[in-house]
Subunit: 373 residues, 4 copies
């Protein structure tokens, strides 16, 4: 029996540049032992969010160290257009520079005819349902790709990635924030498993579709589960999908990447890829809140920002979290700064990457009404 | 009795720049004779779309030439942040350069509690309903502005403009396309009046909300009308709102602006602002299609574009509309270009402003399944 | 004897993208009959200036139609980073988006030790001098490439292109203006040959180095000629180099490209590549001025521009060339526009690509104190 | 006698935006006691470099705490166009977004007719020379501003600032680096005074003009001194000018700003503004090198960067300063990273602000061949 893991790489074309160069994405396949899930891990769909690549590299080492069960597809450097798009010194990789559309809001989802599907499979077994439902997802994407009117740049890329991802039982999409602590988006139904990732800040999401990769993968299966339930049939949500935000953008921290790979490994132990206890992590305190309680704070005025509230540390209502300086008032008798505080207790998750802001710039995001995960 | 029209200007603050400068918008009020509607005209919310300002200038001359009935609010240069935002030689004014969000998708709309409102006013007269409904819209916006978490830059601007616009019976939002023929977005219920604008290409829209200024103004009143109809009460849609796309961006054509001001004048004659026949225009042939038949064509590959289909002129299915050159193939044996044609007959409305495109770039937009307006 | 021309393509790496993709440039070699010059033609170093590629394609057809004497190196799509760099709808390919440095100002030039070279070759024959001088240029570039501190992105690209170009006797660099008539930069010493290109507007340059490709090639040879002259030895300038600006950016016009290829063909007839009279062009009127008389007009204020002076047509001193509208004054009593005129007669060569400008934006460029070429 | 310092603010127009808004800069005047120098302090000419404003605010407090001798002009927020220009989350304020030209390379300098000036004033006293030379500088700038062809946006701004600065005996221009330790550009002739600023890293410059504000002010006076010396007359350089780079861009650190204001205060003690010993600073170790030894390191390939060398700490030749990761190689057998080291010992001054780079991106800048200041 084969004891060592087999790792291979191919290239996926996800678009074409004006100069004819293909936009290519490396796709790494890890063939583990039989009996485990199909796992899809993607990183760097937003061009500046490079840390996830380091996490994938560390995760691949875990696979080499001890052969997992299952098949793993690793997609680092997922957005060649976004990664290569500079604007000033920084990477303008969050949205299409032509249209402004967020690269992570262009995946496909449709629940048309879900009712008919459920009626037809009311008495099918789980394996048959899963296979038929995947075939349906494949067909929907193929149909969109066949449009005689073509597809947008972002859709072209998203759908080619989604064709890989939809084969998986588990989808992990690795992102980062701007200046950011590590945080995790958790679909409500998967809450019990989320703490294994060992990520300190967690946002519990309803299971609807908003265009992102995680939603594009869990929403159809969650809706399938819901519709069956309405028809009196019990079917678990057969796919897990999470978005992991693993620190700040434009930054590479291989040591932290190693720790986060261990967290992913521990979550995958529970999903059957390794024996539980294979990967040891130093447990972190984990806070959570509902998505509706995950609040952005927008600047009440323009100015230069002194960020006062350290990320990850609870801050009380009414305590200043930012001081907005007005240096144009130098030599005048007006107050030199405006302080901003919150209407409730909160934990800062991330803050804006620049200290120079307009009225209405998103200064911070906070967990509010938190609880233990 | 006052025979001459009274024109005045004030400045509206719609934001604050990082250096403390207010972002200010000129607001011109034209006090016409009593008995006419309240009309709101806005231009240049997208920074590169400057032609609407020239139309407003020409329209103001019409008001000076013959005093209209009604009150007019003219808002040129509506987006100081977008107008002043350069990126290379061009104006990057279509979306917020920080977030990528389209400036014209941030208006407020909510139909919460509409049912309760209709129940409460089932037997009120039209004037009472209109006043109460406007008060409700004002209160909704004021509530959002009072959020302790602040508002995004684009929302801050949009809501301050919307506070002016919601007082109007007629809202006209002047935009342009990229390289574009003149075209008009017509809410279905206002179809009979649309031809007076004398705009050659017309898109008939369902009356739902999508975030744009026109929708933000007609949708609530259309939904009010629909809900009353369900309750057995007839109430016309009390507000008209149109988006006019008056040629190409980054371009100023005062002569055409004069003609389009006349078209607006003619539409406003029908709405009671002037005697019909006051403004003479040379009638243009007017094509229309449904919004679902207004189709974008995306490039099937990267390359350099030769745009073949003249704007405004019908093109047959299967006839090439664009030739995509592949100059990187020079000296190879491959075909030097790819031709793109359509699956159905169509009329080109606009095309992309650059000849250098990626796979998935929007090359053209077309009316299909057209009919006379 | 071989009658047909041999055409082949290779790829030149000129950089590497963040995602590891090489930045590659196609290099087409045309092996003509022996006895002619070595000719280097490059296009699209500025990303938005795509028309030169079409000229190279048309020129290659001329080579196929009748085998020329000499060796030709055609480099279309010369700047993969600039071509693929979008910013909004347009191609931000004029300067490095990180540093702002113009891609066409990074070529190598040094006249260190020129005196020693001339002394050493005072009595060498022309062929020996040319070979030794080329070897010296090769060595200078190789030395810069070998720096242990590395090279800037733009220098890396420029030097790899320059290594090809320095082997040539004739260097033609194809550019475009923004909104532009066709114009030609002519080194003073090559003035007599310039009219063969049949380009209507011409700028005569002193033969110093400013960083551009044409200068990087003619300056060393011109300085060599000058230094020898000071030492009493006559040596002609052995290299010709021109920058051709063939119309507007972001635009493709294959028909005009065909005509401009004929002009290049006619110039190359004079240089020995074809019999004179091989290529027929309809002669255009050709104006010229000195570089010091090639004047930019900067906007005296911010506003929206109505460009009044048609390109290529003489305009008199004092006649308005642009009307700058101030739509923020609508409803005020101030003048609605500022008109700009010139202090002397002139011919407009190009104007800015946007109608929305700041104080100080370059509105137009003009030939002044013109004469027939 | 007046004991308290008089502080006032006016606004200087340095341009006009497309929407008609003036681009305005606050100019603060501090009237100290008579007998001291005229001092000009400017901050934030590059839009992202906001820390200098905080230093000016802290410096103003020093003036309030103890009235200085002399007149002080403080210009915070010096570039309203650059400060308000966003591109993605960051401030694209280093160069004009239209032309790519660095805002700090557009000041005026001309040494035409310097010889005639020196001949004419060979026997004048120092006060007469200084007054006449300033008048000459004023006249040169006025002449450029009077051009019938207008001025570029950056020149318009630079010349209006320069008109204020040229009246000063001391010019301090406050900048920052990208991710940067504090460093100082020192004109060679002013070396003896530089250590008072207490800035750890120092670059000694020759006294030529390169377009920056400091050079625009010391170069003319230095050349005047040199030319007089050639004519046998001794005249000291009558103006001091320094560029201070006070940490990283996009960042505000009021505590460090306070310490740097003290350093400026201590330098100004030596120049006669306060009694020596007024301002106490904790002395830092100060390294220096010649400008020719201030070396940029460019990336030898594209990739994701792990910056290894801490800023301000000496690093040995051959020791890796950066690890460039190639995540596109994941699952291949190639090395996952490239390490870069230096050919000589060095002290890292600053590094690039992004971890995602092209071949040729400036990774670091280093002092080499250092000595104590």
């Amino acid at each position: 029996m084969l004891r060592t893991v087999v790792i291979s790489q191919t290239l996926l074309e996800v678009g074409q540049q004006p100069n004819g160069e293909p936009a290519q994405v490396p796709v790494i396949t890890v063939e583990g032992a039989p009996g485990g899930p199909n796992v899809y891990l993607q990183a760097n769909l937003h061009g500046a969010e490079i840390q996830g690549n380091a996490v994938l590299a560390a995760f691949l080492e875990l696979c080499r160290a001890q052969r997992p069960k299952g098949t793993f597809t690793l997609v680092p450097m997922a957005n060649p257009i976004g990664i290569n798009q500079k604007s000033g010194e920084f990477t303008l990789g969050r949205f299409d520079p032509i249209s402004g559309e967020n690269w992570n809001r262009q995946y496909h989802f449709s629940n048309a005819d879900l009712d008919a599907f459920c009626q037809a499979h009311l008495n099918s077994d789980e394996t048959t349902i899963a296979a038929a439902f995947r075939e349906r997802l494949r067909a929907q994407i193929a149909q969109r790709q066949a449009s005689p009117w073509g597809l947008k740049t972002g859709q072209t890329m998203a759908l080619r990635l989604q064709q890989l991802a939809l084969e998986a039982d588990i989808v992990l999409d690795l992102h980062t924030g701007p200046i950011s602590d590590r945080h995790l988006y958790v679909p409500e139904y998967a809450r019990a498993r989320a703490h294994h990732f060992n990520i300190p800040l967690n946002i519990l999401m309803p299971s609807d579709f908003g265009g992102a990769l995680d939603e594009a993968h869990f929403s159809p299966w969650w809706q399938l589960s819901q519709r069956f339930a309405e028809l009196g049939r019990t079917l678990e949500v057969l796919v897990d999908a999470f978005t992991l935000e693993l620190g700040p953008q434009e930054h590479l921290d291989p040591a932290q990447a190693g720790r986060d790979a261990l967290g992913i490994g521990r979550y995958l132990e529970v999903m059957g890829c390794w024996p539980e206890g294979t990967h040891q992590v130093e447990e972190e305190i984990q806070h959570a809140c509902q998505l509706a309680d995950y609040k952005a704070l927008y600047s009440p005025c323009g100015g230069q920002i002194e960020y006062l509230a350290p990320l990850g540390q609870p801050v009380k209502a009414g305590v200043p979290v930012a001081r907005i300086w007005h240096y144009e008032r130098l030599g005048q008798d007006k107050p030199m700064f405006t302080e901003v505080s919150l209407p409730c207790d909160a934990i800062p998750v991330l803050h804006f990457a620049s200290a120079n802001v307009q009225e209405g710039t998103e200064l911070y995001k906070f967990l509010t009404h938190t609880f233990a995960l």
